[in-house]
């Protein structure tokens, strides 16, 4: 009985004290920044680039916080090197050197943000490459591994043939054909349509750039990989991109194609980023001790494919682009060999 009385007494003393112990838990604790590394090996180049930066905290009261170059910079010395695993017994090491004032596009991040390293190295086909970044003060080692393309990157279509023109209009699509690249599995074509704008006897070259959707293809036994560029969609996109102006006449000049292939690791990363069901893009990560991507990428540019007479007339008279001032074949002939109608 006495014990119960003491317990009740203690409980009465402790209960008022409990709320005093509660403190707010800070869900947004400042943590150590994590390195972010971006390196896409280019088999067509003798120089490879590695971009290194780090994560930063966005203050809760500043959702539009823009990081400074200092926020993105890893403040310790580092050693960057690439190891080519030529065989089980041979590994070639290529060391990186920092690049000052590396030109980069404008955007959200500061132009001088991050660190860029240049590694002088030609990429061997079908070879494993390991990228190491050794942070010398903290002793941390960042590592990722990828495999280079096994075969060359060749374009079947478009092919430059004298007299061959591009038909791209309603019911007439253009198909880009690419030879499959071993260990390459993500492809993208960007179409660039060049035209002249004529205003007050002045010719101004203009372009309409139209990236096509990403194409994933891992089957390398196919004779080619094809990406269809819709003719109707081209006309529609042109009508959206260009503004009608009665004072402007337009002359089609030609099509350029920029075709890109990425390695398997890049495909996995890009598809994870594009997958709406993926909760976090950090789920897929190529690196140990960092976030980022380490893969291969190769580009091909093919230029100046003339539009067919049908394409020119459809641009001039078609339902989507008929009001944009494109000249017909007859008007273009008159313009350059006589007087404009």
């Amino acid at each position: 009985m006495r014990a119960i009385g003491i317990s009740l007494f203690l409980l009465l003393i402790l209960l008022p004290g409990l709320p005093g112990c509660s403190t707010d838990i800070d869900l947004f604790m400042e943590t150590d920044p994590v390195p972010v590394v971006y390196c896409l090996l280019d088999p067509d180049s003798t120089v490879q680039y590695v971009r290194i930066s780090q994560t930063y905290m966005i203050p809760l009261n500043e959702p539009g916080f823009r990081p400074s170059s200092e926020d993105l910079k890893i403040k310790e010395r580092m050693l960057v090197y690439l190891a080519a695993e030529r065989s089980d017994t041979r590994q070639d090491i290529f060391y990186g050197e920092p690049v000052e004032n590396y030109p980069r596009d404008s955007g959200w991040f500061p132009a001088d943000g991050g660190q860029v390293y240049r590694i002088r190295c030609s990429i061997l086909p079908n070879c494993y490459y390991s990228l190491y970044i050794h942070l010398l003060e903290s002793g941390r080692i960042i590592h990722a591994r990828t495999r280079s393309f096994g075969t060359g990157f060749n374009i079947i279509d478009p092919e430059k043939v004298e007299g061959r023109t591009v038909n791209l209009y309603q019911n007439q699509d253009f198909i880009v054909r690419i030879k499959p690249v071993t260990w390459g599995s993500i492809y993208q074509t960007t179409l660039k349509f060049n035209y002249l704008e004529l205003k007050d006897d002045k010719e101004t070259p203009r372009s309409f750039v139209w990236p096509q959707p990403l194409l994933t293809q891992t089957d390398t036994s196919r004779s080619f990989i094809d990406q269809r560029i819709s003719g109707e969609r081209f006309m529609l996109e042109m009508s959206r991109a260009l503004r009608p102006d009665p004072a402007i006449k337009r002359v089609p000049v030609g099509f350029d194609f920029h075709i890109t292939v990425g390695g398997d690791d890049l495909r996995i990363k890009v598809n994870a980023d594009n997958n709406a069901q993926s909760f976090s893009v950090i789920d897929v990560n190529d690196f140990d001790n960092a976030y980022g991507v380490f893969s291969c990428m190769s580009h091909r540019h093919v230029y100046d494919f003339k539009p067919s007479r049908f394409t020119i007339d459809t641009l001039a008279l078609g339902p989507y682009t008929g009001n944009l001032g494109f000249l017909t074949n007859k008007q273009i002939d008159s313009l350059y060999h006589g007087h404009l109608d």
């Binding site: 279509d157 092919e159 043939v161 004298e162 007299g163 023109t165 038909n167 253009f174 198909i175 080619f224």
Partner: protein, 146 residues
């Protein structure tokens, strides 16, 4: 009584159903789809040119004209994008007679192209002919270069 209500409901539903199949506001039957007769033309763009390696020959174009006169004048109603990777080209057309026009280019240097019947390096040879498209059928045709 219940039976009469059921019969009335059935008649009402039937009547409504019938009304749904009536003519549209313009007097046409909305269920009737205007199906135009169409056929498929499948042209195999093939060539066997003697004296020139296949790797130095390229297709240039494949076009269709509505008449022999239009073919002669080079007035085509459609052309397709040709490729060395593709042999068959299909056109979906109303039934009738059409004229195809296919051209090849020779890219050999020297006189090789001339010996093979081309006008010279980067010279063209053409093939043309009449093809018939039949409603609901696929007409197969192969180009003939002479």
């Amino acid at each position: 009584m219940a039976i009469w209500i059921k019969r009335f409901t059935l008649l009402l539903i039937l009547g409504l159903g019938w009304a749904c199949h009536g003519p549209g506001p313009d007097g046409t039957d909305p269920d009737e789809v205007d199906i135009k007769p169409m056929g498929t033309l499948d042209i195999a763009f093939v060539y066997h040119i003697q004296g020139v390696p296949q790797s130095r020959l390229r297709k240039v174009n494949l076009c269709l004209a509505e008449s022999a006169e239009a073919l002669y004048k080079g007035i085509f109603f459609t052309c397709c994008n040709v490729s060395e990777a593709v042999k068959h080209y299909q056109f979906y057309l109303p039934p009738g007679e059409y004229f195809y026009y296919a051209t090849l280019i020779c890219m050999c240097s020297g006189d090789s192209c001339k010996y093979a019947g081309f006008p010279g390096q980067n010279g063209l040879i053409a093939a043309g002919g009449k093809v018939t498209v039949v409603d609901g059928q696929t007409t197969y045709f192969a180009t003939q270069f002479h």
